[in-house]
């Protein structure tokens, strides 16, 4: 039997986006292999930002499989990455499914990642590592929604492990400095008190939204906090990060709720507020194509 080398990826997706003279962003280079594809670009509004939709023709991430996504935005370009449907992880007896995402956000460019929800099913394990390198003048927005999964007994949280780690570094003249590390660890199998105090607090769904930009001022922070309080969620909003690294400010929004829709509505409201206040861009309309 052939041994599968450790560095072998079940799916690879790589993309480099540039801005044309006209201001329109487009993929200068794209590559895919195995279980990841991308469908043709969309322009959702008049500002030239390009939206790409990642699809997983297999319909799910499988045990011990490793998936690599790499995005690079060149000077002045704007990219939004979304998914066609929820990312599903079924039973993974072979070991956790793993996604590595590497993002490089160039000078004065924008990278927004707004995927559908992640669903880890009974006896599934999933690990995700996201590594971002951003220019101090760029904009970063990362969203994540995680559901409690599903089992035949209709009990929530029947998966084994879910672990996400996102690390953002900012480029200085000579060195990269860490801005923030955002992590989530849910191990319902080991922690019997998963739904309890300090853990899921009786809620079922969790959301993470991470913003990094030089222009995240106090007025916008307050606006986000008001949106969080008005939403149908239990949310914390805080200024995160080691400080203003080369001028870049960071806000972390963490949410608990009882539906994907509630988290998604809050994330969309915050994304729209950031778009309006920071970039004068119209609201995000992610109609699924």
């Amino acid at each position: 039997m052939q041994q599968k080398p450790a560095e072998k990826w079940a799916g690879i997706l790589q993309m480099r986006v540039e801005a044309a003279e006209s201001g329109r962003s487009f993929a200068r280079r794209q590559y895919h292999e195995g279980a990841l594809r991308i469908i043709r670009p969309h322009y959702l509004d008049a500002n030239g930002q390009v939206t790409y939709t990642v699809i997983n023709p297999g319909g799910a991430y499988f045990g011990a499989d490793r998936y690599l996504l790499e995005f690079e935005t060149e000077k002045n370009s704007e990219l939004l990455v979304t998914t066609q449907s929820a990312t599903k992880v079924y039973k993974t007896p072979q070991g956790p499914a793993f996604q590595q995402m590497n993002i490089t956000v160039g000078e004065n460019s924008v990278f927004e990642y707004v995927p559908d929800q992640l669903i880890v099913y009974r006896e599934g394990s999933y690990r995700q590592v996201t590594s971002v390198q951003m220019h101090p003048t760029s904009t970063l927005l990362l969203s994540e929604i995680i559901t409690p999964g599903w089992s035949p007994e209709k009990t929530d949280f029947s998966y084994d492990e879910l672990n996400t780690r996102t690390e953002v570094k900012v480029e200085g003249e000579n060195e990269l400095k860490r801005l923030v590390v955002d992590q989530l660890r849910l191990m319902p199998h080991a922690d019997q008190k998963i739904s309890g105090l300090g853990m899921m607090e009786g809620f079922t769904h969790t959301g993470q939204l991470l913003l990094a930009d030089r222009r995240l001022d106090d007025e916008l922070f307050e606006k986000i906090r008001v949106l969080a309080e008005a939403s149908d969620t239990y949310t914390g909003v805080s200024r995160a990060g080691t400080g203003e690294v080369y001028g870049v400010k960071c806000i972390s929004i963490r949410t608990l709720a009882r539906s994907t829709g509630a988290v998604s509505a809050l994330h969309t409201a915050i994304i729209d507020a950031v778009r309006e206040e920071v970039r004068g861009q119209s609201p995000l309309n992610l109609r699924k194509f």
């Binding site: 590390v181 105090l197 300090g198 853990m199 993470q208 805080s238 995160a240 949410t255």
Partner: protein, 230 residues
């Protein structure tokens, strides 16, 4: 009469993990005040439930693990990296600032009483704004120099934090002094669990916890009435 190395390690540990050490720990609830306001913590039992969760989450995945990583450090560059990482992973502002404030107090006290190359370099770099400081890292460097065993250094810090949180709960909830001592006695089991669980973790686990506690710590910033700074 010269004291044995074990005795000087013990005495140094007693001084530096004493809840009377002026690090400002008395002014931090590290999140429980949010649960106090929502009336989820109202008595000895509910506080104990919270404290056990806190020991198994933040204290295990951040403080206990950070101490182990300092013991594994080969050069001071490893400390510089850990100092940046532990600051970057603390998303709630008040938790990050609390770690820095208490870390600085312990750092300057420790650098004066127990000078060594690493602790002096750390103090210097924090003064110059090149590093941040965090209580668990500072304590681990001091403990390592004192010759405290790694597991003992983890246990002493975790227990000291649980004791000072309980003392704050005695004032804040309030609880009776005897109830406080019962919680502190019961917490020894959670200290042992934190020692055991943290030994199984690695660098990339630093700060990886469940969302509820972090949300409560974030929401504390906006509470109307507050007894504590976090």
């Amino acid at each position: 009469m010269a004291s044995s190395p074990q005795l000087s390690a013990l005495l140094g540990m007693m001084q530096l993990t004493d809840s009377a050490l002026p690090t400002g720990a008395f002014s931090h609830s590290l999140g429980f005040e949010t649960y106090l306001t929502s009336e989820q913590i109202i008595d000895e039992e509910t506080f104990s439930t919270w404290l056990e969760m806190f020991a198994s989450q933040q204290l295990t995945f951040t403080d206990a693990l950070a101490i182990r990583l300092v013991y594994a450090a080969k050069t001071f560059d490893d400390i510089v990296d850990l100092d940046e990482l532990i600051t970057a992973q603390a998303l709630p502002t008040q938790i990050r600032h609390g770690g820095i404030t208490m870390g600085k107090r312990l750092l300057f006290l420790g650098a004066e009483s127990y000078p060594s190359e690493w602790i002096s370099t750390y103090a210097e770099k924090v003064s110059e704004g090149e590093m941040y400081a965090h209580q668990a890292l500072v304590w681990a460097i001091l403990a390592r120099e004192l010759g405290v065993e790694e597991d003992d250094a983890v246990a002493a810090h975790v227990y000291a934090t649980l004791i000072s949180l309980t003392q704050n709960a005695v004032r804040g909830i309030p609880l009776g002094q005897n109830a406080g001592q019962r919680v502190i006695r019961g917490a020894q089991e959670w200290v042992e669990q934190a020692v055991k669980a943290s030994a199984e973790l690695g660098y990339n686990d630093l700060g990886a916890i469940s969302p509820g506690l972090e949300i409560a710590q974030m929401r504390h910033e906006h509470q109307r009435a507050r007894l504590f700074m976090s």
